[in-house]
């Protein structure tokens, strides 16, 4: 009896432990849903609302990808991870794609064996302090205690910045954004540092946002973007072009509202027609239906709509487009052409 149990357990392990993924798209289709790795909770980017629904900028990109594959943006299973567990989770096959405000760096791309797909948010590391501290510049932070999320690029930037400016500080390493908030509020640290977008999100979630300020210095480049495991080029292509399609849709004026109308038949605008699949067979090239991009936009809208809905000026985060505006508006969002 005991032997049998052990054998069954062993067989079960054998079935789950094999990680060699060659065809992620086939796996996703067979499973019927996309496993999308997100953060454990960051208002505006990926968090669960009062109904237990995942919301946010990154969450919407997960939905766009699922919609492009299944024609249904709800077929996503969100896999929440900390800054430390995210890459292991991706490499171990717990998720198919990582949308977790993750900075693209050379070592992550090369040494961690990830494939970065592009940038969906241009960010930089900043500092938040309590107003009554009277600090107006990061240069005045000599000797301060600084809360940092451990396992992120911010740790290294922080060390570099203080060393470059010949200042000292006490690092207070924290595992998640919520714990960082608690430590910051209790006064364990004077400063909370993370990406400026994360600071805006954290500040918005405080009871008294007005009593906290984000310092003007941005001490690093943090291009945030999605990543997949290295080794499945077809899957990398698919997910990369979903991201580009959503960005391109804004440029071509395709919105969640007019996408049904525009994709009904050729509009005479070649860019729009190629994007929405009424001309050419770009969807088939990546193993999907030709309405892939139309489905993604139907589910969550174009880049501008996703931005405005989750983190834009009219939300509690109130982030301006800045670097994340389209190229023709002076920003860095520039999707390669779909042709």
């Amino acid at each position: 009896m005991k032997l049998k149990t052990i054998l069954v357990a062993g067989a079960a392990l054998a079935a789950t432990a094999t990680v060699a993924h060659a065809d992620t798209l086939a796996d996703v289709k067979a499973r019927g849903e996309l496993n999308c790795i997100v953060t454990t909770g960051l208002v505006g980017f990926a968090y669960t609302d009062e109904n237990g629904q995942w919301r946010g900028f990154d969450a919407d990109f997960c939905r766009a990808t699922a919609a492009a594959i299944f024609g249904d943006g709800s077929k996503v299973k969100f896999v929440p991870t900390t800054g430390k567990t995210r890459f292991t989770a991706l490499n171990a096959g717990e998720g198919d794609i990582l949308y977790r405000n993750t900075t693209e760096t050379m070592s992550r791309d090369v040494d961690l064996k990830l494939s970065f797909l592009g940038i969906n948010y241009y960010d930089g590391q900043g500092f938040m302090v309590k107003k009554d501290l009277g600090v107006t510049s990061a240069k005045e932070l000599n000797g301060a205690s600084v809360c940092i999320q451990t396992g992120t690029t911010t740790e290294l930037n922080l060390a570099d910045y203080f060393r470059a400016n010949d200042m000292s500080y006490e690092p207070v390493p924290i595992e998640t954004n919520d714990e960082a908030r608690a430590n910051y509020l209790s006064g364990r640290c004077d400063v909370y540092t993370t990406d400026a977008s994360g600071l805006a999100a954290t500040r918005a979630s405080l009871d008294d946002p007005k009593n906290h300020i984000v310092l003007p210095e941005i001490i690093s480049k943090e291009p945030l973007g999605p990543a997949v495991r290295q080794g499945d080029e077809a899957w990398g292509d698919l997910t990369r072009w979903v991201l580009r399609a959503v960005i391109a849709a804004e440029e071509y004026g395709v919105t969640q509202e007019n996408v049904a109308e525009l994709s009904a038949g050729p509009t005479g605008k070649p860019d729009v027609d190629r994007l929405l699949g009424t001309e050419g067979n770009f969807g088939e090239m990546i193993g999907l239906g030709n309405d892939w991009a139309a489905n993604a936009i139907k589910a969550v809208g174009n880049y501008g709509e996703i931005f405005d809905r989750n983190i834009g000026p009219n939300t509690e985060l109130g982030i301006e487009r800045g670097l994340n505006a389209q190229w023709y508006d002076g920003g860095l969002m520039y999707a390669a052409p779909i042709r």
Binding site: D111, K113, G143, T150, E155, D160, P171, S186
Partner: protein, 400 residues
């Protein structure tokens, strides 16, 4: 003989299987073979998968600069130091928590264990309630609770100064830590250190002498007080004679934080307090069990011989109780050491947080980092085990 050779081989096997002793051996061989196969399969699976995604197994990264800062280090460390140095810093931090925790847990545990047996009903019940509450809540919750209480109920450094959270104006209690004056020894301090070791040697010699005197004459010499005088008195005397060769650095509020002195960080306090209180509740129960295991007749017999109460405890009860207490005490020490890996929950930079956390994350070398962490804990545990087994052998009842 001839008839034996004629039996079919499967009959032999069947007979072997029916034989109880042979069957036991066969099952053991099969189990070991299975275990070997399983381990081999796990390892080869890991190696294959690592190769598939193109990651080798190499410890070269250990010598590259770590790039991150650590807020508590017992050896020189900056963010330019290597990952290996970061690992050693983490290892020493783990050791610090483990050793402090073990000492605290043992002292508190023994006191609680004895109080638990108190004839005073109120005392017994209070300790009983305390033990049951503490040991029946997961230790992680205690760590988080103590840390939360420390950082939210203690004042900020500024308030610590203005609201009088200081001791004689030289030590400050704040949510950034407990800041104490730091003694910096001058060269002449060596004399005091030497005096201390001489004191220990003197105490040992006197103890031997006292035993001889007692064996020969039956006279009991005051070993305890002479030891105290030798170990503490002598160094203090030398310290005074050499003219107080210590310079104190006092903590002072400068800008955001205290500068100077040395700080016991709230993360360390929370971890050590929670771990040692939690473990002490288990040790208390071990101690109670050990004392109860010594039959009352022993005490009565000692009293009948006219041995005083404290000498009875010292010579009759405790030596016999220790035999019962030491083995479970060993596993409590091991538990405490291993539980110290929960440090990550409050951001205390132990071995798991440094090499097994940040280094792992920045370099992506999961297998290598985890191997190091694993081996470190294994070594710690084996060392503690070895020491406790040695001690156990020493105090074991010598049977004649």
């Amino acid at each position: 003989m001839a008839s034996m050779e004629q039996t079919a081989p499967q009959m032999d096997l069947l007979r072997l299987w029916r034989d109880k002793n042979a069957r036991a051996v066969i099952i053991q061989i099969l189990t070991i073979a299975g275990l070997f196969f399983f381990t081999f399969w796990i390892v080869s699976n890991a190696v294959t998968n690592l190769e598939t995604i193109g990651k080798g197994y190499s410890f070269d990264f250990l010598f590259e600069p770590a790039g991150y800062d650590i807020n508590q280090y017992l050896i020189e460390y900056t963010n330019r130091s290597s990952h290996l140095t970061a690992a050693v810093v983490g290892l020493l931090n783990t050791l610090l928590v483990a050793v402090t925790g073990i000492i605290l847990a043992t002292v508190v545990g023994f006191i609680l264990g004895v109080l638990r047996l108190s004839k005073n009903l109120l005392m017994g019940k209070i300790v009983y309630t305390y033990i049951e509450v503490v040991r029946n809540v997961p230790v992680l919750l205690w760590i988080l609770l103590v840390h939360g209480m420390l950082i939210s109920s203690l004042p900020s450094p500024k308030a610590s100064v203005s609201d009088g959270w200081d001791f004689l104006g030289v030590s400050f209690l704040s949510n950034r830590g407990f800041y104490l004056p730091q003694p910096n020894p001058e060269p002449a301090f060596w004399a005091t250190v030497i005096a201390f070791f001489l004191g220990i040697a003197g105490a040992v010699v006197f103890r031997r002498h006292a035993r001889k005197v007692q064996d020969a004459t039956g006279k009991i010499l005051p070993v305890f007080w002479v030891s105290v005088a030798a170990i503490l008195g002598l160094p203090i005397l030398v310290f005074l004679v050499t003219g107080l060769p210590i310079v104190w650095s006092f903590p002072e509020l400068k800008g955001f934080n205290f500068v100077g002195g040395f700080a016991i960080k709230p993360e360390f306090m929370a971890l050590t307090l929670a771990l040692s209180l939690y473990t002490s509740s288990f040790i208390a129960e071990n101690v109670r069990g050990g004392i109860l295991a010594v039959s009352h007749g022993q005490t009565e017999a000692a009293h009948a011989l006219g041995i005083s109460n404290s000498r009875t405890l010292q010579l009759v009860v405790i030596p016999q109780a220790l035999r019962v207490i030491i083995p479970p005490l060993t596993s409590q020490y091991l538990n405490l050491t291993k539980n110290s890996s929960l440090a990550i929950a409050v951001g205390y930079m132990d071995i798991v947080a440094t090499i097994g956390g940040i280094s792992l994350n920045q370099t992506g070398r999961e297998m290598e980092c985890m191997t190091i962490v694993l081996l470190v804990y294994l070594c710690f545990s084996l060392l503690i085990s070895a020491f406790m087994n040695w001690y156990n052998k020493r105090i074991k009842l010598i049977e004649r």
